[in-house]
Symmetry: C2
């Protein structure tokens, strides 16, 4: 039974990409899952983090959304075992044209409808906004993962996220669920991290994932090698935390 | 002679807001400048960081862009002395309507044309994308400040930034200049920070600001008090670095 999860937060730099690609690889590596990662961010960061040279793409996600190509023609089998529908900056040029189309919020859902059953998990990495690409991701997903970083501006970002989810549920009539909120970039040495985490735990209760991702330079370096944290620093705190997070996700859906 | 500067980078969480509001306050505090900060990000982070309760706004930037209000009716005199045209999440709902208007890229320039001469500096805090709001900011600005964080994904973001600037110069025929690139979130304890900074210095040469902003929890805390780093932690490394940056900006334009 395939599960489609969007990794979403309008706030920038909170670890959406870091979470999306390390979750994807962890599901393959530790649970032998079949995983598709859809990169719907024109920055193409999750594609790059998986070792895909995005400046060389002949076909990409936008070609699927605009019905110029099928998923099969576009999907890349990354060396981590995760399948990827990649994007690069050219996706940004499609935002205004796509925003003018009838049914614009459902393009991704339709594109994935024939192939999501080939996978145990479809993960979608969103850009830092609530524009048409993020809305497509939410409309295509059963549940949404919200990474939140340990800062005041990060905590404030929860308001916009909740508003977007409410809009998808009511105005767009799609019963998306909250998979959970993941605390990221936690720096145990300062009070702010603990205070933000505690506010999130109070607000989200059992919807808060138990795993908390620490701030570690290893997580920041790994994308430069096109590999996951488990390959870059297998015994480190980042790998441990993301592996715990992967286990929580799997237990949630078995 | 008024100077309008956009603080721009498509990459999320690189310190655009932290730079925009601390630069604004520093210009007022240390150089007695008259400064207007325009928040064209629906997250409203720079407005919040200056102590403005954005959930209570009756009028905001979108009302000026849509010609429902004048700048005078919307501008707030924050307690730091910086004047602010604030935004909140409702700005996001204007993105698609505004994208459909003729002359959509010039709405902000027109709105500011009558009032920019009342200020020494007009600073514009951009959202993390190259959509219609960022383009409005670039079209309204003479120069652009690019904060870049010390990470691989941060370094990659430079490509999208250069592409956007090229597009504004050629397709939109606006001779925007690069004020400079500012290294942010520098963590002297790891090699990655030094390598990224050195790559940026090689690529940008004299366009790299001398100031480098360190990663410090004080910069992350200050927005929760609605104050600048100079008020939150006047003797700390963050305040020192931003004060140096403010001095560089002032020397560049006198
Ligand atoms: N726990 C962590 N420790 C150290 N660095 C991290 C951590 N999580 C993310 N980073 C780094 O911080 C930066 C921002 O993270 P990331 O790109 O994953 O966030 P994002 O939410 O996807 O950003 P955007 O909004 O631009 O899409 C990246 O350079 C990433 O490598
Ligand atoms: N030098 C620094 N040291 C510590 N924390 C920082 C530093 N610069 C920024 N931050 C924190 O990192 C987070 C991201 O910074 P900021 O919001 O300024 O970036 P941004 O580029 O404006 O993000 P967005 O793309 O979402 O608009 C914020 O919580 C901020 O307080
Ligand atoms: Mg990302
Ligand atoms: Mg910002």
């Amino acid at each position: 039974m395939s599960k489609t999860l969007a990794v979403f937060n309008m706030k920038g730099g909170v670890g959406k990409t870091t979470t999306a690609y390390n979750l994807a690889v962890g599901l393959v590596k530790f649970h032998s899952a079949k995983v598709l990662l859809v990169d719907i961010d024109p920055q193409g960061n999750s594609s790059v983090s998986l070792g895909i040279p995005i400046w060389e793409l002949e076909l990409q996600l936008k070609d699927v959304l605009q019905k110029r190509a099928t998923v099969d023609e576009v999907v890349i089998f990354s060396k981590s075992g995760v399948h990827v529908i990649p994007s690069n900056i050219l996706l940004a040029e499609e935002e205004i044209p796509i925003s003018g189309l009838p049914g614009r919020e459902l393009l991704l859902r339709k594109a994935l409808s024939n192939i999501s059953n080939n996978y145990d998990f479809v993960l979608i990495d969103c850009p830092p906004n609530i524009g048409v690409f993020s809305v497509n991701a939410l409309m295509a997903s059963q549940e949404v993962i919200i990474p939140v970083d340990m800062s005041y501006l990060g905590l404030l970002g929860i308001n916009a996220v909740e508003r977007a989810i409410t809009m998808v549920r009511s105005a767009l009539d799609h019963p998306i669920e909250l998979a959970g909120v993941l605390g990221t970039r936690f720096d145990g040495r300062n009070k702010l991290s603990k205070e933000v985490l505690s506010s999130l735990e109070q607000h989200f209760g059992s919807k808060m994932f138990q795993a908390v991702i620490p701030e570690t330079v290893k997580l920041r370096e790994a994308p430069s090698y096109g590999i996951s944290i488990y390959d870059h620093d297998p015994t480190g705190a980042g790998a441990q935390a993301y592996e715990d997070f992967v286990t929580e996700i799997v237990s949630q859906y078995e």
